[in-house]
Subunit: 420 residues, 2 copies
């Protein structure tokens, strides 16, 4: 009897965990991704702030298939899914399946603000992090020889939108890059000339965290020198300015948008399926589509309601759902089933700076050095591959001891450079 | 009295060594480069063959200026030099000088073969090495799903032109990448399906080496599975083929050109100076221009004749000349001078593969394991910065132990991807 063909569309956290659960089992596994690597997105902000080389947070997917005899990898763009005909449509041909796990993740949501989409940076892909790093370093290069004081100030002003973990972590890391590294590199630029503005629509940062941690993160960022603007929104941008709700304009050449995500475009190309908020695909308690029980949707793309609300779009949810979908497939093949998916919330954490982080887990809250150390160790643990762990640990140790970041290279003058 | 202004145009090996010699002296030093890093070009081929991340062979130049109070750095493209007016013309304004060290290096020389220039890769810049790595990995991705056997064979054929150190080292490293890594990654592609052809116009490889080492390198490459075509030349290329002198055509999607260099374009923009072969600037025995004794030209750009022949275009010559020019400036400032420049030939070496290299020094020749170990240690020694040494050593150790190369990421589908 021919083995059942399981296809995983997208190799982020959900796809990776599903693949691991299916490795070595009695199915024929095909993993599809547009990149040949799994990307550890939570550390993208460190690539953007010259703390890590991009190779350290990417793991080649063929490093997995070579260990898994029942698995193969296909580098391809996925255009859609023929749900009735059971095949995934890619630019490398159609791939038939018996079971499909759709795990294509999310894209940045600019809420139809075209000017922001044009001029803002966002952090979803590896190349975007490298672009942003190049851009930040270029703003300092240009500022160091700019004679017009207003233009110089605009070059040295960085606006970050979104007070979630990405915005908070990026703001802290950028501030430390400037204070510890760039102010040494550019003797003519003073730290006080630089400005980092973090804009958040809600009335606090890290809204998913307990109140005492929200306050700690806010106070810590302020004490580091980051300006936090709460209950405000960015509504427009040009190459040299950022417009706030209410009309105020901040002259700035750098805008990072981390204020929203929506399901990947693939969700919109699944015909006839129900979609919830942010374009996410509504799934059954077993994470499958109602009409197509052989199709599972996991992670950011999946709208899975628990306790009356959709689960958040974050890595732990995706991982657990990927694992669940894989185990459900194996169970069904044995004529069994599994109880409905349940998300086990292990907690949340965010690092703010050197020796400073916040973490909430099992009803307890941690902050400062202990939370920071826990953050470091957990991120090392969740990174894929011995070598990546080693490189990241080395970088962190080096940065901690020497207050240096060696990866401050302007590797290519790509997108946006001409707008400086 | 105002300090004398010394400008260094180009921060390759010549410029870097000149800057080191002038650091802490009583001059005002300005270093100009189009990149914000010094690039260790001899290891570019390892970036192109997924052995090293690009950050490991680049050192941020502001990491030097922060240690040198008399030095500053300018990121700029140099358009020319106003020799009479004593200023360097850049896209960031003109930079006046009292002394100038021109060290802009070389560019690849395609000898006016437009089709080769269009389709060949070359290894001078960091981005080119990353492009070539992406391209090599993409050829395997495409070959793994190609059904037409001829097209598949062309995708898996790699042509390298030039049997100098770069061509030999790249051929060996690519062969090992395929044998040890890619043949594991792509279970459907056999090593015997792949083909590496090294084309050299002369009657031996490594023509600068003693005869026994030339023979050893040739035999070693052949035994590794590289086809060596001597006394042949590439005269044309398309995206899918390489044409040899005599009319033979090799179907191949990958052509690396390492068969010639010429002085950087800046040499041609120095008005009224005498130029020798490959567009190099003819200099006096003190490395300065005849009419402008305050202008020195060092490294690949400099045509410095010793024993009746111009010195070769290689890193040790550039380093020694940069050092000499800097010391000459300091001597002149004290009303002294130096004896004419003399190149001290420490020897030459090239690595071929795992535990295999050739080296010639002080009349002795070495090959095999001893030469390989010497090659490793010397390259580590000449790398700039503790961190880069550490990262490179770690990569080499990892590759040696695990026969793995983790940097096999396709980071962006840039130039040439569409031609596959």
């Amino acid at each position: 009897m021919q083995k059942k063909r399981v296809v995983i569309a997208g190799m982020g956290f959900g796809g990776l965990r599903a693949a691991k659960a299916l490795a070595g089992s009695d199915v024929e596994l095909t993993m599809i991704d547009r990149n040949n690597y799994h990307l550890f997105q939570p550390l993208l902000y460190q690539v953007a702030t010259a703390g890590l080389e991009q190779e350290a947070i990417a793991y080649p997917l063929r490093g997995l298939t070579r260990q898994w005899p029942n698995a193969s990898f296909l580098l391809a763009e996925i255009g859609g899914v023929d749900l009735a005909g059971k095949s995934v449509l890619t630019d490398a041909g159609s791939i038939p399946y018996d079971y499909l796990i759709v795990a294509a993740g999310s894209r940045t949501n600019f809420f139809n603000m075209k000017s922001v989409e044009t001029y803002a940076f966002d952090l979803k892909q590896l190349a975007q992090a490298e672009d942003l790093r190049n851009h930040i370093l270029l703003t300092f290069e240009h500022a160091s020889r700019e004679t017009d004081p207003q233009r110089r100030a605009a070059l040295l002003t960085f606006v970050i939108v979104g007070g979630g973990p990405t915005g908070v972590e990026f703001a802290g890391a950028l501030r430390e890059l400037i204070v510890y590294v760039l102010s040494q590199d550019y003797s003519t630029i003073g730290v006080t000339e630089t400005r980092i503005v973090l804009v958040e629509a809600a009335d606090s940062l890290l809204t998913a965290m307990p109140a005492n941690l929200r306050l700690y993160a806010h106070q810590k960022l302020c004490s580091m020198g980051v300006e936090v603007l709460l209950e405000n929104r960015v509504v427009g941008a040009t190459a040299e300015s950022v417009e706030l709700h209410g009309g105020a304009v901040i002259p700035s050449h750098t805008l990072l948008w981390s204020a929203g995500v929506a399901a990947a475009d693939l969700a919109g190309r699944l015909d006839g399926v129900e979609r919830g908020a942010a374009g996410r695909v509504v799934v059954q308690p077993g994470l499958n589509l109602k009409e197509y029980p052989e199709v599972f949707v996991v992670g950011d793309m999946s709208c899975c309601v628990e306790n009356g609300a959709p689960l958040p779009m974050m890595a732990p949810v995706a991982s657990q759902q990927g694992d669940y979908a894989a185990r459900m497939i194996l169970a069904r093949e044995q004529g069994k089933t599994l109880p409905p998916f349940h998300y086990f919330d292990k907690g949340a954490m965010a690092t703010i700076g050197r020796s400073s982080a916040v973490a909430a887990a099992a009803g307890f809250t941690f902050r400062g050095y202990v939370a920071w150390l826990a953050w470091l160790l957990l991120h090392l643990y969740y990174l894929i591959g011995f070598r990546n762990r080693l490189v990241v640990m080395m970088n962190w140790t080096y940065a901690y001891w020497f207050q240096e970041r060696q990866v401050r290279l302007i590797t290519a003058k790509k997108r946006r450079a001409e707008q400086l």
